[in-house]
Structures are given as C-alpha cells and as structure tokens.
C-alpha cells in the first residue's frame, strides 16, 4: 500500500463525505424542527443537478444563472412539499408520515425519470478540471470547491441558528415544538423554513457533486440514504454531528472501498447505519432521546 | 398475622438524577383496599409502573406472595396475577367493547399462531371460552349490552368501566387502579365505589391511586401517602386525613376533602 494511494483515498473520502455532510444537514434541520425524517431529501439532490442540467442545455442559460435558478426552484419544491404533503398530515401517525415522505420521494423521482430520461449526465465543474498536486496525490479543483462550500454552508447555518431571530425560533422548535408554539413562535413558518433550507442544501450538494459523479434521475435514492446514514452516525439532533458523520462516512467508504472491497462499497453506509442504530442510536454527537 | 400479598422493599427509581420514587417500602394485605394518595408528581403512577414491570427499578424489590417480580417482564407479571388500569384509560380504539375485554383473557389462554392459522377444534373451543369469560367480566361492570359497540364510542365513564372489565378478565389477584374516579360525576363515583367493593368481595386485593378524597374515605381500608417519591404517612383514612405532614404536603395543591 503506497502513501499516495492512501492520500488519494482520503481526498476522495473527504470530498464525498462533504457531500454527504450537506445532505445530512438537510435531514438534521428538518428532523430537529419537525421531528420528521424526510425520505425525499435525496430527491432534492437529484433535482438540483438535473434542473441545472436542463437549464443549461435546454434553456441555454449561463452557468451561474442556471445554478442559482435551479437552487431556487428546488427550494420552492421543498416549500410545496412541506405545505401540501407534510403540513396536512400534522396529526398523522408516524407510519403515515414515513409513508408520505416516501411517496413524495417516489413521486419526484418518477417525474425526474419522465422529464429527463434515464441517462446519466455531467455538469460543468466550477473552475476547470486541471488537477492540482497535493502531497503525493492529485486533487481536482472541484474537490476543493465541494469541501469549501460545505464548510461555508455549515458555518452559515451555525451563525444563522445562533444569532438571528428566525434561527432562534428554529432552535426553540427543535427543543420543544409545543412550547415554542405557545410562546408565539409561528411553528408553520419555521417548519417551512426548515424544508426550504434542506431543499436548498440538497440542491447545492447535487450541483457540486455532478461534475465528478454525473447525475441522473435515480441518484437521489442512494445519496439520500447515505446522507441519512451520515446524519444518524453524527447524531440526528446535532448540526456539527451531521458534518462529522458525513466526513466520517465518506472516509469509511473511500478507505473501505479501496482496501477491503470495492464491490461492497455501497454496503458500507448501511452497515454503519445498522451498527449505529443498534449500538449507539444517538450517534456520535447526538442527545439520547427519551420516549414522549 | 396475615402474610402480605404484595410487599415493596426500598423501591427506588430515578430519572436523570431526580428520584421519582425514593426508598418506598410498604405491604399490602390480601383482600384489602389500599389507597395511594399524594400531590401531583408524587410518584404514584411511577410506583404502579414499577410494580407491573413497565419500568425497571434502580434499587429495591417488589414481592408477590414472597415471589420477586423485579426481573420479570410486564406480561409475566400479569400471568402471576397483577393487573392494572391506566390514568388515561388506553382502550384499544381499533376494537369493539367485547374485543377489548377478550384481550384481557389473553394471559389465561394459549392458542398460538399455528393452531390459530389452522383453526383447530381446540382453538375454536378456546375462542368460545374466551368470549364467554369476557362477557362475564363485561356483565360484572354492567356493560354487557354494549358488547358490539366500538370501544371509543362509549361515554367516558363507561370507558373507565370497560378498562376495569378488561383488567378483571385476566383473573388478577391484585388489581391496580390508576385514578379510576378521574372525570366521573358524583353518581358515577358512587357506582365505582360499589364496584370496587364488590371486586373485593370476589377476593381481589385492590390498590388505587386517587385524588377524589370522598371516594378514598368511603372505601379504603388503609391509605399510604407519597410526596416527592417518599412515603410520608400510612394508616387508616381518618388518621391520615389529620396527619400534619400530609396536610403540609397538600398545602398549595388541590384537595377535594
């Protein structure tokens, strides 16, 4: 095993992990504010990539505009999802809510398939494809962008939650939804906001990873599940946990895939999920949740 | 000197550093009606949960006729003869009145997956027995005419009676009633009192958590008082009523004396 290989694995692990982290942040945000696991999170990722591709190719819009517009469109979809699929089911049982978000995921995925077919398509990288030497391995500029954007998103979210009024409202809902409502916080607005943020984050993740892994109508399922595994690994109730979990999962997948077996690489995320659920359900940084 | 049917020894249960039940010891004698009273949050329902095995105690033990219940799962405790009702009733909303009571017969019947799937003669015979016994329990509380109705369609007072019939169907030696009188009017409460007394006539020992002091004074043989998880008084109702510590514990709290 030579060092440059290991470093290469680490680089791709951290990069992929950053994508998982962004998706995981989406799961964590919605879960903290509404107590729901949004199975459709992965579809936001898919839509981000696919909408950008469509805006670029079919509508012939310039790159920056395509990115921004795509993110906006997915955010609106997220808001629509919250308003029409989640909010009407407020009083529903857990099993109903799970099935509803699964239905949303299936629906969005199906629409994606109908609109854009099954082919995998690439997106242009943000700043070219010339590899940069790093230690004894090569890093693509896109890798750096992914990691950088992840850090920016994480810091922004943290600052937002700590220092703005809406952010505090979000944290209040996360602590105790009922009480938050009682003290005058508009629970519906914070809920919608959580979905908007998750959708936007998901879309961004989809856009920045597509240049490397391509995108298609079906990427949402796997990315969503792995993002969820990352969120559980880090602790569903913890924002820094989502990032930690994402990076950790990315590294585990990359190193595991490289040294143990590349065939079963995809299974690593689910094995991790299993292990965490059984051994330490609150994840690395999460709080132990009591039954209500 | 009668042997106690139920004995609690130094039972302790804490939640995150706060003791909900702290070193509680007392005995319950066969066929007595023991009332557990105390201000809200005193640990009374937690005590019931510990006895039935729904919660695991941190320290101490509870013995049924000398037999330790500490390590038993809730369904095993029921098999030995302790049944309970809930503060918030907890009926099976997806079933009829009679079906609710038939679940009470679960622990006294044996049909398993295979016999049920094959609908063996034994399974069908047992099903008939279950239904008969369930009707008996239902008749005991006077609800036999409502057997086929959806359980949640009953008026609240009757829902409470149904819960008692359901627990009764499991043929308990000890019956734990958690605030059976809550939400009942004066007539219903009097009926409840009579019902509990007739349960005692059947040989069942009753423990009840109650806030309705009239009910407690009327039917309880003995009363124990909990405050902040600690047993602060024990004795016949009249004595406890006048106990200084008890009055102090209730000061500032609702007391329907």
């Amino acid at each position: 095993m030579n060092t440059s290989q290991v470093i290469q694995y680490i680089v791709s692990g951290v990069t992929l992990g950053s994508v998982y982290a962004i998706v995981a942040l989406g799961f964590t945000t919605i879960y903290n504010v509404t107590g729901i696991i949004n199975f459709a999170q992965g579809e936001f990722v898919m839509l981000g990539g696919m909408l950008t591709y469509w805006l670029l190719r079919s509508a012939q819009l310039p790159i920056a505009l395509s990115f921004i517009l795509a993110i906006l469109m997915v955010t609106i979809i997220g808001l629509l999802l919250e308003r029409f699929a989640v909010r009407p089911a407020q009083k529903a049982s857990l099993i109903s809510l799970i099935i509803i978000t699964i239905g949303a995921s299936t629906f969005l995925r199906g629409i994606g398939g109908e609109l854009w077919g099954r082919d995998a398509v690439p997106l242009p990288p943000i700043s070219g494809e010339k590899p940069i030497g790093f230690l004894s391995a090569f890093v693509l500029p896109q890798h750096l962008w992914i990691i950088g954007i992840m850090v920016v998103l994480m810091v922004s979210l943290h600052l937002f939650l700590s220092y703005t009024l809406l952010g505090k409202a979000v944290r209040a809902c996360a602590g105790n939804r009922y009480a938050a409502g009682l003290v005058g916080i508009n629970v519906h607005v914070t809920s919608a906001f959580a979905f908007a943020v998750s959708a936007a984050f998901g879309a961004i993740a989809g856009i920045i990873v597509a240049p490397i892994t391509l995108t298609s109508y079906s990427v949402g399922t796997m990315l969503g599940l792995k993002g969820f595994a990352a969120a559980v690994l880090g602790g569903l109730t913890s924002v820094p946990g989502a990032v930690l979990g994402g990076i950790a999962l990315g590294l585990l997948e990359s190193l595991g895939g490289g040294f143990v077996s590349s065939d079963y690489k995809d299974a690593i995320a689910f094995l991790v999920l299993f292990l965490v659920l059984f051994l330490r359900p609150q994840g690395m940084l999460g709080q132990r949740e009591t039954k209500s | 000197m009668t042997e106690p049917i139920l004995a609690l020894k130094g039972v302790r249960k804490a939640f995150g550093g706060v003791a909900a039940v702290d070193g509680v010891s007392f005995e319950v004698f066969p066929r007595e009606i023991l009332a557990v009273i105390g201000p809200n949050g005193a640990g009374k329902t937690t005590l019931f949960n510990l006895i039935t095995g729904a919660l695991k105690m941190d320290e101490g033990d509870v013995l049924l006729k000398g037999h330790s219940l500490k390590r038993l799962a809730p369904h095993q405790v029921v098999k030995l003869g302790i049944a309970r009702t809930f503060q918030n009733v907890q009926l099976f909303g997806n079933m009829t009145v009679i079906e609710n009571v038939m679940v009470g017969r679960h622990v006294r019947s044996r049909t398993g997956f295979l016999s049920a799937a094959l609908s063996t003669p034994a399974a069908r015979a047992e099903e008939r027995t279950i239904r008969e016994k369930a009707m008996e329990s239902l008749a005991f509380v006077g609800l036999q005419d409502k057997a086929q109705e959806p359980a949640l369609g009953l008026p609240f007072g009757q829902q409470r009676l149904l819960a008692i019939a359901r627990a009764l169907a499991s043929e308990p030696q000890v019956l734990l009633l958690d605030e059976p009188g809550a939400g009942l009017n004066a007539t219903e409460t009097a009926e409840l009192g009579r019902l509990i007394l007739s349960l005692r006539e059947m040989g069942i020992t009753i423990m009840l958590v109650e806030h309705d002091m009239n009910l407690v004074m009327t039917i309880a043989d003995r009363v124990i008082v909990l405050d902040y998880g600690v047993l602060i008084a024990e004795g016949p109702p009249s004595l406890v009523q006048n106990d200084a510590r008890v009055i102090a514990a209730y000061l500032g709290d609702d007391l329907d004396l």
């Binding site: 399922t221 299993f274 | 729904a54 079933m95 799937a117 279950i130």
Partner: protein, 325 residues
C-alpha cells in the same frame, strides 16, 4: 340489525364471486393468466406486509429482500445443490425465517423512524449482496436454468397449471392469515397497534409478537419468491430492490392497512395500474407516489377503508334525511 347481516351477505357474495372468478379465469384466455400468476404471487407478499404494517403498526421498507432471499434460495438450492424444488422451497423459507428472526431481535428495540430506516438498510444490504456475490447468485446477470415444480410426475410447466398452483398457495395463505387475524393471536396483534402499554399490561408479550409476525411475513415472502423463481426459471437481483419494497407498501396502502382481503384489491390495483400506464413510461411510479401521499393524508387506514367510510357516511346522511346521527 338488518344492516349488519346485510353487510355480511354482501361480503360473502363478493367472496364467492371472487372465488368463482379465480377458478374460471384461465379458461377465458392466456393473456390475463400470466398476469394473474404474478398477482397471486404479489398478493402473498402483500398479505404478509399487511399483517406487519396494519396490525402491529410496524413499517417494513425492505420486504423485497425476503422475496429475493426466497427466490435465490430456491434457485441456488435447485441448480447448484440439485435439491428437489419442494424441499428447496422449504429450506429457503426456513433460512429466510431465521434471517428475519435475527434481524427482528435488534430491530424491534428501535422505534418509529429508526425502525423504518433499519428495515430499509437491511433491504439495501441484501440487494447489494445479491448483486455482488457473483459465484453464488450470478450477480446482476442472474441465475438461469431453474427447474420447474412438479407433483409426482405431473410437471407444472405451463401457465395454466402454474396459475392454479399459485392461487392454491395464495388462497391458503389468505385463509391462514384470516384465521390468525380473527383469533386470540390476531387480537393480540391489534391490541399492540391500539396501545402497546395497555397490551403489555394485559399480558401480551409485545416484543415476542412483533418478532413472530415479522418472521411470518418474511416466510410468506420467501414462499412467494420460490414460486416466482420456478415460474420464470430465470431470476436476477433487479426485481428485489428498494423500488419493489415501495410497490408493496403501495399495495398495502391501497388495499387497507389492516385488511387481509384488501391485499388482493391492492395488488390488483397496483398491477393493473402499471399495465395501464405502460405506454407512458414510468408514469405508474408517479401515480403511486401521489397515491401514497394523498391516501395517508386523508385515509390513513388505507384506501379501501377510506372509501367504505365515505360510502357509509353518505348512507347515514341519506337515511337521516340530511341530519348526521
């Protein structure tokens, strides 16, 4: 009183009509025969999932895994180990049951979302395994040359014969499940769904029942998988993934979460919807997603129950001249 017996009569009539239709169908033509074979197999899967979801309220998003284990179990045991197909079916069912048991034990310590996710993760792991263990399963290109079933020297190798075999199995499964539901066991299961705390307080061993019903539904799925393998004589991992697990959930949601016979209706609906929407591509998936959302919001007990409720309400309104009783 007359409405109760009236309703009962309608039920029995419908059932009788259905049974007659089942028996007579293959005599009417071959196109629908093969479709109905698949529907019969899927109904067995749906019934198992229905018992799990409707009666105990536990979600399983990885049920296709058990279907796949049964199919590949039978496939591998008959092609590689040359076991008799019937024996292979039993062995595969036992293996599936064991796996379900081992998975259920830790899984049921989880609640709600975590439980659903764990089943999803399990389904994924099995799917990846089936795809990757090439020597055993043939990988993504699959396993071929699976022998057909036979009784003594009577080979069941035509659609016509297979149809009756599958539906015999299916009706047996439906009957057994109905018996379970109407028994002490069924009541215990429903009580768990109604209130776990109250069920436990009445002596129902909640954990044990959850595990048992999970295993039972897995065994149903395994047998269905075996029947599938012997029917198509070639299987690949493709039909045993996440998407099929979701399809099963749609069948149960349409048929009614707590309705055994509804499982048939759910399976029929989903299969015919797919057939009908074929020319439009993957449109059926879009419709299913919408159905899941809409039905769970407005009729959480399932579509058939929701419709029954609506009809009953209308009848009540009509009878009371516009005043709700």
């Amino acid at each position: 009183m007359s409405t109760v017996t009236g309703r009962l009569n309608v039920r029995y009539l419908a059932l009788a009509a259905f049974l007659v239709a089942i028996v007579v169908l293959p005599l009417l033509g071959t196109h629908y025969t093969s479709l109905m074979i698949v529907i019969g197999i899927h109904t067995m899967l749906a019934v198992g999932l229905c018992l799990l979801m409707g009666f105990t309220g536990q979600v399983s998003l990885g049920h296709a895994a058990f279907y796949g284990i049964g199919a590949f179990g039978s496939g591998i045991l008959t092609t590689n180990l040359h076991l008799s197909p019937w024996l292979a079916m039993i062995v595969a069912a036992v293996i599936t049951g064991l796996i379900a048991f081992l998975v259920a034990l830790p899984i049921f310590r989880l609640e709600g979302h975590y439980l659903a996710m764990a089943t999803l993760g399990f389904g994924m792991i099995v799917f990846i395994f089936l795809n990757q263990t090439h020597q055993l399963t043939g990988g993504p290109s699959g396993l071929r040359g699976i022998p057909s079933l036979s009784i003594a020297s009577f080979e069941i190798d035509t659609d016509f014969r297979y149809y009756y075999l599958v539906w015999a199995f299916c009706l047996l499964v439906l009957l057994a499940s109905r018996n379970i539901v109407q028994s002490r066991v069924g009541r215990a299961l429903r009580s768990i769904h109604g209130s776990e705390a109250a069920a436990a307080s009445l002596g129902v061993n909640v954990a044990s029942f959850k595990v048992k019903i999970f295993v039972l539904s897995a065994v149903y799925a395994s047998v269905a998988g075996s029947l599938y393998a012997h029917y198509t004589t070639f299987i690949s991992p493709q039909p045993f993934g996440f998407l099929f697990s979701i399809r099963l959930v749609v069948m149960v949601v349409i048929g009614g979460l707590a309705s055994i016979w509804g499982a048939i209706f759910g399976t029929l609906s989903v299969t015919f919807l797919t057939e009908f929407l074929q020319p439009f591509g993957d449109f059926d998936v879009i419709v299913f997603g919408l159905i899941l959302i809409v039905v769970m919001i407005f009729m959480p007990e399932g579509l058939t129950f929701g419709i029954q409720e609506l009809i009953a309400k209308r009848l009540r309104l009509a009878r009371h001249g516009g005043q709700v009783a």
